[in-house]
Subunit: 345 residues, 4 copies
């Protein structure tokens, strides 16, 4: 059994980790920390966990965490970068669900997150944990930076196009939409049901923290800098991200081989599903499941490739991908504990 | 492995059976029938099942069904009563999720369902499959009538009060609320998103088909006829039932022992959770899970007991309870395949 | 033109007052106060008001308020009771949308609101502003206590039964359901979209502040003390209240005349609509409109009268009823500015 | 008073016309037709209209329609083109909310709508009723083709950019999102609450009927053919469209004057609101109102202009714009009957 600790477990990614790990056959959650809720049983805060956990939130305690095989960070940015070095020194492995170790350029990181990065060493060593591009290095890594939700949906959809050099990398557009759980579980007026329900809007259209992460990832796939416009939107639902991606095909005749290119690229991937050409993936088809589903489209008289890509922001966009990374790191079957179909309807 | 057939699999209870059975370690679904969709892969209709089933819907075929160990009926009323006798004769076991075998008084059945019952023999032999009252007879039964969604939530909540003779059985009120999936997956204008969304209403307030089923069940628990008023309501959500139950305590001093009475009654029940006195169960705490959670309330200067009881109408109110019944019938652990926590948020 | 001031305008009742008054032909809003948002244009906080108001929120200023003909309080409890005496002395008329002047028994008020009442004089003089029972005294009143949202829906539905002495007043049950805007516009975690969406629950089942207000109102109608159980629930929608009311008819033969009794009682009421017997009023049928719609039901073999009553909690349950009261107080047509149909779908 | 007839009034645009016209001071609705619901009072189908209309649906009757001053068609495509010529001959004015007279190229029309157009004469004479570009010709027109919902949101947002020649007209992208009422009020399984709720998806991504209408409109504004990619999406809400528009600025220095260009372009438009640069218009800010709100965005290091444009698909995207057109045609104040603020929250 892998002895797991969770730092910062009161948010939606925390409870989602607990939900997934509750039925993972090789994991024992030995501690879950929260400064604000220390002492409260997790099942009191999250009644879906009644009967599944006896655990209570505890103050973060380095000794306890260092006794874990793996620690997940489900914290706001700025926390993991301070605690990780000590855990690394103790030989603990870490999957960080926050943004602390995702960007390689720490000046860019500092400008988007409004603070200086405090662990340049581990920022350099951390592996960006998108298994579909980095499985083998994840396996050997002690520190995995779990990708952001939007970046997961966007990168997976663009990947075959950029790796194949089929599109103009300077003219990428990612119009992405997310359910409200992506904003976390904090008492913000703007996220009240009375504000979010029955309405739709763009947000962060002039610049969102996931933009540099997307840019870095796509540049890696393209082997060159990319020009990408990314606009997130808030959908009146709880879970799910859909990203509609637009790219210009360099050679319109390539349309004929796009579908097989995508199928080929992801044939061995347990958690990427390329649907038939012209399909419309629904976010509900991945609700609660560690899946990305995508489909390709073309409009008449156009050389614009359209990719629609969906994930559950809390699963493949956060806790599920983190468990997938853990499975890889510990040599388990990659799908272990992640087999259940999505909840539909 | 139990060889399972599903008759009438295109509706929401059908897909929910498939979702649950996809990860059940002792089941192999060998056929799923639909006259209207014969030939269509189930994963084309329900993309959450992509990668989980190769199966396509097929025309109902008695030979195939008779080769099953167990057949689930997820059909409109009137279908199972015609097909069951032949399956019984062939020694197949059946869990009927429709209403065909729930009522013992076939005149009452006929008046509510608008047709004559065609299998009085099996209506008499069928066991009403609420495990919390009938576990031992379910185990031996060849034909189990799976309870309706509202009747499950309502009966479980009233059970300890009536069994203990603590309340006036002639003055019971059950004010129940359900998500839209309870109405099934048919193209009715009244169930469009544009009609159901952002609105709330009672329906069937002058009489609903689940009323006689509730009456029969409560009478069984009380050991006498009961007077119960049951009003269902439509909630703008997909899954979930909440029933708020009102009963008059015969002896107000009994309030002191109600909580322990309820806890005692359900202590051994894996799928009934009595929450602390004064709690407010949320439907999301059981979304996707085979659970009933309930809590008790009392208002000052009042001898009215209030019970709030929640289930997922598609799980403990339908497919999950059906699998629970199957587990009991086949001597498996009752919780097998039903262990995953609810999806929250 | 009536010169109107609004105290505490940043909440949902505040913006709803502004929305309604924007097209009221006899009103000029001259100030709207908010300590926290002083200086912010109302249209910046509520973009639906762009182009309708130049006004900004201002610090509460007694001089400015005393220059108004009418002041609406849309404040938390405890504010109006402190400011009202000075306005009364200045001859200003007030409609208080908060709970400060609703209860006549100030010990009861203190026990539910957790503070001592500071204006016994005006609590005694205030008129409870349910026009359907108090129109003539409202007309002459300087201070109107605008009823709570639940109490409006519940009282209107029970009124004909209690006034006529047709039911047992000791056995009343009001099972009520509200959209999330009823909880106001504050950053509470429990009211996030991620918490409220796709879920349903009871709350305040052991006792809610509207219970004593309902009790007081029903006792007035019945001419004696009443026994009423009131359980509110939270619906995953923004606006709307539905109350399902249960009462025992003293004489079952009275069922035959109930419908005409209700129609007669409300025939002259512009904002109460008695629908045909057996109808199911939907909250969306009153969304944005100052209407209460209700319908009666009876179940076979039962002497329980069922009334389903719907309002928009922000309109007939708050701001619309306040404007109706203002119209009455100033001798205007009672429906002025309140004529538009509900927004459906 | 203008005597108005409505053909095909049972759908969402029909009821929305009735809602708006109920408080329009210069209109009398004299008939509303529906073959399927002839004889049913409109207030029975749409209870929000109880007390506002005595009217019942009637069979379409040419004599009655010819006695109207204006007829609105709220019909599926293919109906208006057959009935309009007779009304034109009788001197009746028509606003057609269907797609019959929107496209000038009837071959294109035939290929998208799957039938031959039957009134080439009136297709040629009809005026495309987007007041912001065609006010003066609408005033003189006998037949106005009311724009589609998506085309309204998309055209208004691109208009200043194309009219000014500031962007590359061959690389336009319109990623649009709509609530479920856009699909009309028909019993389609795909539009059930259980299918639409809590999910998000693209649809029609390979080609949607509004694409040629958008292309035609944008070409008119640009004075040349345009290349536009248009992808609609379905949002789990009832009303509202948001379109996020992407265009490449020819000269990046033009960014500095974009905001004033937009403000200038729409300064005199009563129903277009240019919000401050960097704002995020919400669909709820126009719910129920005949408004388009929009805002501009720029991301660092990018020459892509981003415009977010919102309307209520049933109002500025259908019935409200139709009434606006009627006001223009009859020389009334353009805002008459359309002054009420949006319903928020």
């Amino acid at each position: 059994m892998i002895k797991v600790g969770i730092v910062g477990g009161t948010g939606y990614t925390g409870v989602e980790l607990l939900r997934i790990l509750a039925v993972h056959p090789e994991v024992k959650v030995s501690c879950i920390t929260s400064r604000s809720e220390a002492g409260m049983p997790v099942a009191d805060m999250y009644p879906n966990l009644r009967g599944h956990y006896d655990l209570a939130f505890s103050e973060p305690d380095a000794t306890v965490l260092k006794a874990c095989d793996l620690v997940f960070f489900a914290t706001p940015h700025g926390v993991a970068m301070r605690m990780v070095p000590e855990l690394m020194a103790a030989g603990v492995r870490v999957v960080d669900l926050s943004a602390d170790f995702r960007l390689k350029d720490l000046d860019v990181w500092a400008s988007w997150y409004g603070m200086r990065h405090e662990s340049a060493e581990w920022a350099a060593k951390a592996v960006y944990g998108l298994p579909e591009i980095a499985r083998s290095v994840i396996r050997e890594s002690q520190l995995v930076a779990n990708p952001g939700c939007y970046p997961t949906a966007v990168q997976l959809g663009f990947l075959p196009l950029l790796e194949g050099g089929l599109v103009d990398p300077t003219r990428l557009i990612a119009d992405a939409k997310s359910g409200a759980s992506g904003a976390g579980r904090q008492g913000k007026i703007g996220m009240l049901h009375g504000e979010v329900g029955e309405s739709f809007k763009a947000y962060g259209a002039s610049g969102h923290r996931h933009l540099p992460e997307i840019r870095q990832g796509l540049a890696g796939a393209a082997g060159q800098d990319v020009g990408v416009t990314f606009v997130p939107h808030l959908v009146p639902m709880i879970r799910g991200i859909e990203a509609t991606l637009y790219a210009e095909l360099n050679n319109p005749t390539d349309f004929d081989r796009l579908q097989s290119l995508f199928e080929e690229r992801f044939r061995e991937e347990p958690f990427v599903d390329v649907m038939p050409f012209g399909s419309h993936p629904e976010t509900r088809s991945v609700r609660g499941a560690n899946q990305c589903r995508m489909a390709l489209h073309r409009q008449e008289q156009s050389n614009v490739v359209i990719v629609s890509s969906v994930i559950d922001n809390l699963v493949k966009g956060a806790a599920g991908q983190a468990v997938q990374n853990m499975n890889i790191m510990f040599g388990l079957a990659e799908t272990l504990g992640l087999e259940a179909p999505a909840l539909l309807p």
